[in-house]
């Protein structure tokens, strides 16, 4: 995610395309676990300057299941190292996976946001994906959509914390899933989002069973 300027990140699909082009032969194909394309909802939980931890963006299925507290807990707790955590969701009925990560909160001018106690504020952002239960990772194009949504929401919140309608429902978007085996999974392709999560295994280590990994990207335009 682009965090240097504080401006919404441009939709950059080149990384994903390049990545897909680089290893088409090694993809095992076969999209996702269930039927139909997976749908993703952005999640954002953060403090403001005056306001405590708030659910700033919440998927409608979470709100309808009255599991906002669980979602807040699930998405929080990482260190601001950019490493993505991927976890199956047990507190919603059906097949759900939550990808989450923590990063410093930046204001419109790209400066670190601090609360009233002078402490740096962190953003906990995530993507709740339906119909996926396999280990997965997010391609840069989908990552850019998520970053734009969370950044837009956070800046709106910072602008007027009291009037921000938390929890605001997040806009879902469609994803395309491509399955790869563990040897071809993008362990370190250079973006923080792709750093190994706990479901990734370095290909140099012995691995008794291949671990398929889903790459979640935006669908190809028709």
């Amino acid at each position: 995610m682009s965090r240097g300027t504080g401006a919404p990140a441009p939709r950059d699909t080149s990384g994903a395309s390049a990545w897909r082009d680089a290893s088409p032969r090694r993809a095992i194909a076969a999209p996702r676990s269930g039927g139909g394309a997976p749908t993703a909802w952005p999640v954002l939980v953060a403090r403001g300057v005056h306001t405590g931890i708030s659910p700033l963006l919440m998927p409608r299925p979470v709100a309808e299941a009255e599991q906002i507290g669980r979602a807040m807990e699930a998405v929080q707790g990482g260190t601001p190292d950019g490493i993505t955590r991927v976890a199956r969701v047990s507190w919603l009925a059906g097949d759900w996976t939550l990808l989450s990560r923590t990063s410093p909160a930046l204001d419109r001018r790209g400066r670190q946001v601090r609360d009233r106690g002078s402490r740096p504020v962190l953003l906990s952002e995530g993507l709740l994906v339906s119909g996926v239960t396999d280990p997965c990772t997010l391609a840069p194009d989908a990552q850019a959509v998520l970053a734009a949504a969370t950044q837009r929401a956070y800046l709106a919140f910072l602008h007027d914390e009291r009037r921000y309608p938390a929890p605001a429902p997040s806009e879902p978007f469609r994803l395309h899933a491509t399955r790869f085996d563990h040897e071809t999974a993008p362990a370190e392709p250079g973006t923080p989002w792709f750093r190994p999560s706990r479901w990734f295994r370095p290909s140099t280590q012995p691995c008794p069973e291949p671990t398929p990994i889903l790459l979640l990207s935006l669908p190809e335009p028709p």
Binding site: R116, R119, S124
Partner: protein, 402 residues
């Protein structure tokens, strides 16, 4: 060994985590090294490492402040309070369970499993410490917008959580970041008066707790600084807040041990009340005599002691361990020597501790004396620290229309 649940209530950024780390640094690290310190706390290895790491980050001037505690954190921190005798004999006195949590738990409307645990801990708390954020209190005294918000939002929420605790649980208020007041040369008496005048909620909670079912309730307003004025430099920011910057100055804690020590007599006064009224009048008379003398130091214990029956105390059946018995006995008669006289036979009640190792008795007595002296020194330094009904009467008089 008895467990006492303690909850520190404060809104986000009121200084709860820093306070706990600083208290552990003083009572769990430096006091352990100081052989003359008669009481210290011990935490399990994992908890201790975590607290030491947190403290190390806080006092490292090269590191930024830690981000606020997030919702995922809900850490029960069990401190065992240990007595140390002159011959270095150690005796575990009791265990205090603190909870470190994100301040949003006080104001949240979103339920999760940890929220349920937190609310249970709140309802079952034996003692309540309320962290009043010094920076916001100062804004309130300065009639700033931040102070108004604090009054009508944060403080209201926190006092709402205090009302959730049982009416018998003793409550003490800490004003954190007291170094800010020291810089301005503001005294505790002035701050107490202004706070009570500004917040009907605070005056209401203080009044209701002091008039509550427990006749032994003592309430203190404790100025606390976890880091001290030499280490933290406040600077007004463009948005009107005081921004805190670390300096390379020396860290100096102020009164971070007092809140815990203040709770001890409260706990045991409750305990004595639980032991029941009635019994031999002779022993009650002795306790009342003691009350007049040692009660100056531990007034709640002294008040409660009047209701303890001799039989129950001497049989010790309800007491959980022999250290427990010694501790109670020490609270009742161990302070005598401080008043320049040897305990007489009636006061001592040797049956209470007959057969128990003498060195353990001495260690416990030394610890009790140490704590009493520390509280006495605090009260001498801050004579206005006790919140009393007289404060509320004074307030009512000043608010009366002429």
């Amino acid at each position: 060994m008895r467990d006492f649940n303690v909850v520190t209530l404060g809104e986000p950024d009121s200084g709860k985590t820093v306070f706990m780390a600083a208290m552990h640094e003083l009572l769990g690290t430096r006091a352990v090294d100081d052989a003359h310190h008669r009481v210290f706390v011990r935490a399990p290895m994992g908890t201790r490492s975590s607290l030491v790491r947190t403290y190390a980050r806080i006092v490292n001037p090269d590191l930024d402040w830690d981000p606020g505690t997030d919702r995922k954190v809900y850490q029960e921190v069990p401190f065992t309070v240990v007595a140390r005798g002159l011959d270095q004999t150690l005796a575990d006195l009791f265990r205090v369970r603190y909870v470190d949590y994100s301040g949003e738990r006080i104001t949240t409307e979103w339920m999760d499993e940890k929220q349920r645990r937190f609310e249970r801990h709140l309802r079952e708390a034996h003692g309540v410490l309320v962290a009043l954020d010094g920076a916001k209190v100062l804004s309130l005294l300065d009639r700033q917008e931040l102070g108004r918000r604090y009054l009508y939002e944060d403080l209201k929420m926190v006092l709402g959580a205090v009302r959730e605790t049982t009416a018998r649980a003793p409550v003490h208020f800490m004003i954190t970041k007291w170094d800010l007041f020291e810089r301005r040369r503001l005294g505790l008496g002035f701050v107490k008066g202004e706070l009570l005048k500004a917040s009907d909620d605070l005056a209401g909670v203080v009044g209701s707790r002091l008039r509550s079912a427990s006749p032994t309730a003592t309430m203190r307003l404790i100025p606390v600084s976890s880091l001290g004025r030499d280490f933290v430099r406040p600077e007004p920011s463009e948005d009107g807040y005081l921004r805190m910057f670390k300096t390379s100055g020396r860290v100096r804690q102020l009164n971070v041990d007092v809140p815990l020590l203040s709770l001890l007599p409260d706990f045991y006064s409750q305990y004595m009340e639980e032991l029941g009224a009635g019994g031999r009048t002779g022993f009650k008379r002795v306790l009342r005599r003691w009350q007049k003398r040692a009660g100056e130091v531990f007034p709640p214990v002294a008040r409660a002691a009047g209701d303890v029956t001799a039989e129950r105390l001497t049989e010790g059946k309800e007491l959980e361990s022999y250290v427990e018995r010694i501790l109670l006995k020490s609270l009742v008669d161990g302070l005598m020597s401080r008043f320049g006289r040897r305990p007489d036979r009636l006061d001592v009640r040797p049956e209470v501790v007959r057969g128990l190792p003498n060195n353990v008795q001495l260690a416990v007595q030394a610890a009790v004396q140490h704590m009493a002296l520390r509280l006495e020194a605090f009260e001498q330094a801050y004579p206005e620290s006790e919140l009393t009904l007289a404060d509320l009467d004074d307030l009512a008089r000043t608010m009366e229309p002429e």
